[in-house]
């Protein structure tokens, strides 16, 4: 079955903008390689939330030029395994692409937009508060850091009474085998 498009569904509060063919697929691919979460989880076959499209649109709106460079870096890593794809993006494509890549990772993990220009100071400086904007309430409920912890976002549980008394499902049930598929 071919991966269906989600059309203009915008449940996370951002209307979709037109994107060049393949941008969404590639955005999901690079997101999977960077975050370590399967592309099929980030964008399921029946994508009820439209998160990937919303995050692509947000990234394009905030950093359109660098986004193109990020996509180009991803495309240049054709044929590599996901960990190497991540390396190409984060270490071999320049600082602007690397910082934007990290903002994209933070989008997926925390449903929050961090200005890429503010991230380098975190590496070298003392602990500091970096302002961020939570994309939307509904995006928060789909943030991925909790899945990486085999749990649910605080304030958003779909599970039944008493679940906490038992072990959670394994990590693979949440994020897949991880890392995305080879391009």
């Amino acid at each position: 079955m071919t991966t269906p498009r989600t059309g203009t569904t915008a449940p996370l509060g951002y209307a979709a903008t037109a994107d060049a063919a393949g941008d969404l697929d590639d955005f999901v691919g690079l997101s999977a390689a960077l975050t370590g979460i399967d592309g099929d989880q980030l964008r399921p076959a029946l994508d009820t939330y439209g998160t990937a499209q919303a995050y692509l649109d947000l990234t394009r709106r905030n950093e359109g030029a660098t986004l193109q460079a990020l996509l180009a870096a991803y495309r240049s890593a054709q044929g590599k395994l996901p960990p190497q794809v991540a390396t190409v993006i984060l270490e071999q494509s320049g600082d602007a692409v690397a910082c934007l890549a990290r903002s994209v990772m933070l989008l997926w993990y925390l449903a929050a937009w961090y200005d890429p220009a503010k991230l380098p100071a975190l590496r070298s400086g003392p602990p500091a508060f970096v302002p961020f904007t939570i994309v939307s309430g509904n995006a928060y409920t789909q943030s991925w850091v909790w899945s990486v912890g085999q749990t649910h976002p605080m304030g958003y549980s779909e599970w039944a009474f008493g679940y906490w008394h038992k072990d959670p499902p394994p990590l693979t049930a949440f994020i897949g085998t991880g890392g995305g598929k080879p391009k």
Binding site: T35, G36, F129, P131, Q150, F161, H165, G179
Partner: protein, 635 residues
């Protein structure tokens, strides 16, 4: 409705929190005419907006969901506190406890005079502060009511456990508490032979079990062995009051998305079903009026349309009985403001001079660790169990008692996780202490590392019994005002050596527990440089025998100095305490003002000591008791 329809009520209640709601419901059920004045907005209709506000809050602090909003985004994108002088119903925020904010008139609602920052907050909204309680519904232990008689410290209450016991049962039914009485009969707590809690206990978490498994190898503390005890909670384990069972949203503080956790809007709804009960929102009591006969003759109030606007209307209501249920800072504030044209210069109900005095909290000592094996935190209610064994014992002669709350929410309270650790391993910071190498990870390395730390994080909170002290008080700020022109509360706050020595014992206990668990402790303790530069940090020096060394004296050889950071538990108590005489207390054992027969002061402000359990159940029990007294008055 904006104006009262009856000029004369049986009872007027100031405050629609748990105490006000319970009393209104009891009186309404008996056909009494009751008017509730609530300073804030209607909390029942706003749940969806509250959740939306919570989801998008940068700092998910207890007050984050509630109205009126007390943070606004500035140009840099920080959601920082709004200026309290612009707010008609300002209230404290945990965001104004830093060195740069706690004494800033444009940031801190409370005029904090120190030396330490009073760190607990409260709400002014329909349903009150309990909108964001955790749900913990513990009874006090019998010795909590008589520490002076038994240990020679603090004060005795004018009441004891046995006479409060039936009211505890009534409160447990009103709230809907889940527990098993067999698990809760420790340290002298007793139940009637056939007593059953309304609902079965909440299942324990995997974190609880990890702690429990290790406790057998923890040496007794002050002679007392430790055990894990299921925590009674106002949280549904079966359908109750037409509310759903807990789904483990792990969000009790600040807001349960599905109202599986009780909050007073439930009782408020019940109360308003009685024909005689009505409520005015956005109605701030501004003065308690006293007549020439010395009885309370009315309550003056201001109303506002815009929470950031001025008063738009004013009025007065009269009743046969008056109940002030505005929580432990706003209640003394109101009474102190009530000057009656100079006839009550020290405020109403304050002949004793004790109004506003003995402000107390349960200051929390927080410690945190990574477990040896996964304990799968961030699941279930925020806390399902604790260690209650150290709430009472001989040691109370020398140092503060505490209960230990086992946290199910990883390092959320401790370091602001999972946000902090995520930022650490993606952007290379070390806010969590877990990334000293300043690594930046991706792909499987990132998920493996994040999965490891998140599934091994947990924390313990030690709730300290702070003593009632003369240097902890609520008065009125001479200069800071709110938008209605009313003086904001002024706070002085400090800890006695007795309280501070409790922190010393807590630290040792925590470390012992982590050692027995094979866990790696990550608690960050402040240093000498932080004292005086962080209003939530204090120092304690003690000699080789463990006795505190008085401040300002030279410590003897072998003395140790430790530094601690504390957090507020949200347990504000003591500021209009009950007692046996009119000279050393504000209300009598029935919560009636010594000075005005027709005035009752209810809520946690009546506590002579903060005791060792969370205050809600006890204040609810006392409120139900007060309802009976008021009904007897009304005949």
């Amino acid at each position: 409705m904006t104006t009262p329809t009856n000029p004369q009520y049986d009872v007027v209640i100031v405050g629609a929190g748990i105490a006000g709601a319970l009393i209104a419901n009891e009186l309404g059920a008996k056909g009494k005419r009751v008017l509730i004045l609530e300073a804030g907005l209607d909390g029942q209709q706003s749940h969806i907006d509250d959740m939306a506000r919570f989801y998008t809050a940068q700092a998910k602090v207890p007050e984050a969901p509630y109205t009126p909003p007390i943070v606004a985004a500035d140009a840099q994108g920080y959601q920082s506190p709004s200026d309290p002088s612009s707010m008609a119903v300002g209230r404290p925020s945990t965001l104004t406890l830093t060195q740069g904010t706690w004494q800033d008139e444009t940031q801190s609602y409370l005029d904090q005079q120190g030396p330490l920052a009073f760190s607990s907050t409260y709400e002014r909204v329909g349903g009150g502060t309990m909108r964001h309680w955790l749900g913990t519904s513990l009874r006090f232990v019998p010795n909590d009511f008589r520490t002076k008689s038994v240990y020679g410290v603090q004060e005795d209450w004018p009441i004891g456990y046995p006479e409060l016991e039936p009211w505890y049962g009534a409160a447990e039914r009103a709230i809907g508490v889940s527990a098993d009485a067999d698990d809760q009969a420790y340290l002298g707590i007793t139940f009637p032979e056939t007593y059953r809690y309304p609902m079965p206990p909440i299942p324990s978490s995997l974190v609880d079990e990890a702690v429990s498994a290790a406790l057998a190898s923890v040496p007794p503390v002050d002679g007392l062995p430790l055990s894990v005890s299921n925590t009674p909670a106002g949280r549904n384990s079966i359908p109750y009051q037409d509310r759903r069972v807990c789904a483990g949203n792990t969000n009790c503080i600040p807001i349960c998305p599905i109202q599986a956790k009780y909050d007073p809007t439930v009782t408020l709804g019940d109360a308003l079903q009685h024909r005689g009960v009505s409520i005015l929102y956005q109605t701030v009591a501004s003065e308690v009026l006293v007549g020439p006969d010395g009885a309370v003759s009315g309550i003056a109030y201001l109303q506002y349309d815009d929470p950031n606007g001025p008063a738009t209307r004013q009025g007065t209501v009269t009743a046969t009985r008056y109940v002030i249920a505005g929580h432990a800072i706003e209640t003394p504030r109101l009474l102190l403001m009530s000057k009656n044209g100079g006839r009550t210069p020290n405020g109403v109900a304050n002949a004793s001079g004790h109004l506003g005095q003995h402000l107390m909290d349960h200051p929390i000592y927080l410690s945190w660790a990574l477990t040896k094996d996964p304990c799968y935190g961030y699941r279930g209610p925020l806390s399902t169990a604790g260690i209650e064994d150290l709430r009472d014992g001989e040691f109370r002669k020398r140092r503060a008692a505490f209960r230990i709350e086992i946290g199910n929410e990883g390092w959320n309270f401790a370091v602001g996780d999972p946000t902090t650790t995520t930022l650490d391993f993606i952007a290379g910071s070390n806010g969590s202490g877990l990334n000293p190498q300043r690594q930046m990870l991706a792909n499987a390395e990132l998920t493996q590392r994040m999965n490891y730390v998140l599934t091994h994080q947990f924390r313990l909170g030690f709730l300290m019994e702070q003593t009632p002290d003369d240097d902890c008080a609520v008065t009125l700020s001479p200069t800071w005002k709110d938008r209605l022109g009313l003086p904001r509360p002024r706070i002085t706050y400090n800890f006695s050596p007795y309280t501070k020595m409790g922190f010393v014992a807590a630290r040792q206990t925590g470390s012992a527990i982590y050692r027995a668990m094979g866990a790696t402790e990550y608690t960050v303790h402040p240093t000498k440089a932080d004292v005086g530069n962080d209003p939530t940090v204090f120092a304690i020096t003690y000699d080789a025998q463990g006795r505190p060394v008085p401040e300002g004296t030279t410590p003897p050889a072998g003395a140790t100095t430790e530094y601690f950071r504390f957090f507020g538990a949200g347990h504000t108590v003591g500021t209009y305490r009950m007692g046996t005489s009119a000279t050393d207390s504000v209300v009598d054992r029935q919560q009636r003002s010594w000075d005005h027969r027709n005035l009752f002061l209810v809520g946690s402000g009546v506590f002579p000591t903060v005791a060792t359990g969370n205050p809600t159940l006890t204040l609810a029990a006392l409120a139900l008791w007060a309802s009976q007294t008021i009904l007897a008055d009304l005949g």
